[in-house]
């Protein structure tokens, strides 16, 4: 999937992946896609909750060998 910006949040723990995601989304315009890479297992649930509460769309959430990749479309 294409994306407009990538955020490397690997090695960061709660709440940093969410805070950095919010900051990165601020730099995008509505409809653009942010790719977030993380290693915090808690970020899976948190990213869903973040998207739901902020009106951004969590397009996909995948895991591969302890690394999580989230695709968020800015609302």
């Amino acid at each position: 999937m294409d994306f407009d910006k990538e955020l490397d949040a690997r090695g960061l723990n709660c709440p940093l992946p969410i805070l950095r995601t919010k900051k990165s989304l601020n730099e995008l315009t509505s409809g653009q896609v942010l790719k977030v890479r993380a290693t915090d297992p808690g970020s899976v649930k948190d990213m869903q909750a973040f998207a739901k509460q902020t009106g951004n769309e969590l397009v996909s959430s995948t895991e591969n060998g302890g690394e999580y990749v989230f695709m968020l479309r800015k609302g």
Binding site: N13, L19, F50
Partner: protein, 169 residues
């Protein structure tokens, strides 16, 4: 949708208890909440310009695991169950525990308190210092970071009374 509001009261002045108010405040701000934190009693320590004095104490804290943040895995897994009487007698025990805790925090990719506080300020979380405690403890406004307001219980209620979530930490 009207902006939600979170009101926090921060009352603890130790390294460990500095986390909940700043984590919740910064996250709520990221979720679009308007946030205020009222710092009272020992919580005022979290507004000091220099935060390096914040310590964590394992003394009388049976919930705190004492594990080493370095060495091989088997060594890191040991819980050093040191009796209170010994902890109390060893000079610098608290400082040592704090150094180890800060290393554990770094090892786990957890933000430092100065970093989290900065993120709160960036996100326009409003910080209010309890003026009564400032007087009581003989503090000076110059001890604290710039940009905070000072007030009392009535100031707190002005915002808390309209908040959606209100927590005492």
């Amino acid at each position: 949708m009207e902006q939600k509001k979170l009101a926090l009261i921060a009352t603890k002045g130790t390294l460990d208890w500095a986390y909940p108010p700043f984590i919740l405040a910064s996250t709520a701000a990221a979720l679009g909440y308007e946030v205020q934190i009222f710092f009272t009693f020992y919580g005022l320590q979290l507004l000091k310009k220099d935060l390096s004095h914040l310590k964590v104490s394992p003394l009388g804290n049976p919930g705190m695991p004492m594990k080493m943040p370095f060495g091989p895995k088997w060594f890191k897994g040991i819980n050093w169950n040191i009796p209170n009487a010994v902890q109390a007698l060893v000079p610098g025990y608290e400082s040592l525990a704090t150094v180890l805790m800060k290393q554990t925090i770094r090892n786990n990719g957890v933000a430092s308190i100065p970093e989290l506080r900065e993120l709160c300020i960036e996100a326009e979380v409003k910080l209010i210092g309890c003026q009564m405690t400032v007087d009581l403890f003989g503090f000076d406004h110059a001890d604290f970071i710039d940009g905070i307001e000072y007030g009392g219980a009535a100031t707190f209620f002005e915002f808390a009374g309209e908040s959606d979530i209100c927590l005492y930490i």
